[in-house]
Amino acid sequence: MACYLTTGKHFGFYWSFVTVLVLLAVTAPTALLFGFGGASAARSQFPPLRWFGTIYISIVRGVPDIAFFLFFVIALDQGFEFLRHQYLCPDWTDRIWQGNDFVVCSAAKLPLGSAPQWVHEVYGFFLAVLTFAIVFGAFAANVLHGAMQAVPRGQIETAEAYGMTRRQAFWHVLVPQMWIYALPGLSNLWMLLIKATPLLFLLGVEDIVYWARELGGTKQARFSDYPHGDWRLWYFLALLVFYLAFTRLSEVVLSRLTRRLSHGQATIGATA
């Protein structure tokens, strides 16, 4: 059994857990940044920016997130290749969309056809992170926008009475205070992000779902040193337990954090 669990393939499986954790670690701050940008844009005084922010916030809510995942991966990939194509091959005359094909010159391919395997994997992972960040950024923008609205109006008015400019009031009064209002929504979002990580599988990254299917299935196992039947059930049970433990742990940590942050704040959260 110990030998079985330490084959090279299994290290791929363990490594994919690291992939998922790295994805979470990278995506969460990026999405928060996107969200902050979106929420600030929705408050902007410059109308096009405000419209952009509002649309960004509202469109993701009505549409299944998985549709966005599938959409952005191709769209971003084509977008990057299109930009590189314009830059690298200016004298290309053929059309890029030829009927049902998307053709760019070979120098603009991303990653390059000659690139080693790991570049392809890193690029796929990068696209996945960007996709996650865009989708969850919209959710975060929604939460942060609500949090900004929740900061008592009197606080801003006081800041203005002290002669602060709009920008100063935003950075020195609004932003420090909004986090406590945003925290319940953000912790909810973190849970959601954890639970969305298996969707990496759909984005073509070799994640834990991919390995669980591969390792558990009989096809490979029959020709390896350790033949076994269909064990996918047990692999997925292990994944379920992993996720349960992970969400449970986050729940405990986040509730501690909420209690600490709401200390001394005049919200209901301080008593609850």
């Binding site: 299944p64 599938l70 959409f71 049902n100 094909d101 954890i194 599988f201 349960l244 449970r248």
Partner: protein, 267 residues
Amino acid sequence: MSCWQTVQDYGLRAIGIGERLLPREGFDLCQQFTLIGSGLIWNVYFGLLALLVGFFIANAVALCKASSNPWIRKPAEWFILVFRGSPLFIQFFLAYFIFLRIKQAGYMPWLTSAQAGALIVLVLNTAAYSGEIFFGALRTVPRGEVEAADAYGFTGWKRFVSIVWPTTMRLAWPAYTNEAIFLFHATTLVFFSGFPTWRQQGDALYYANYFADKTFNPFIPYPIVAFYFILLTLALIGSFGLVNQRLNRHLPQERRTRLKFRPNIIR
């Protein structure tokens, strides 16, 4: 081929009526709209049935969780923990392989089909999420209402049915609306998890993915899916709003809570 012809061929393709082969060329707007729209049949099927069955289970789960008897309370708590704490995607996979085992043992072979198996997962999943919502609402029923019921001599089942339960629903309804919306969104996952598609009869996203794969152009099929789902979401908000109105009909006009779409509880 005219657009009307396409609608006749592919309008009910998702449930196996009409043309057998999916379109191989053309891929014009009409084809995409028709086929993706016909896939929506399955989204509505999964969503409505899961919502309907899940509603009753959720009520039972909430009551069990509120019970003082640990033999009843603990299973309900674990049920909610397991289904809310793990990704739906993993639940689909796990359930599929469990159903596969059952099929291999010679019982209930229909369980491995998406239409039955995935529906069971969705029912249990939504039961857990809404059960938690109902449980939260059950605990916030005003004490005064219960005391008033006691004073009028209501006891046991009668008190629950005519006093506690309507208030619970009233309190839970806005959150439950969100849950329903996200349940419908979650139905798009079905054909991307372990469950196989039978004769290419998939849901809206399945067909959108088909078109995106064929044309390498994601900018048409996915916005069509988005369009359909926004319509579906609006319809849901509308019908849940009607129920909300009925639930709050005894309140004066200005104190009624309007339903607002706040996606706080998401899978």
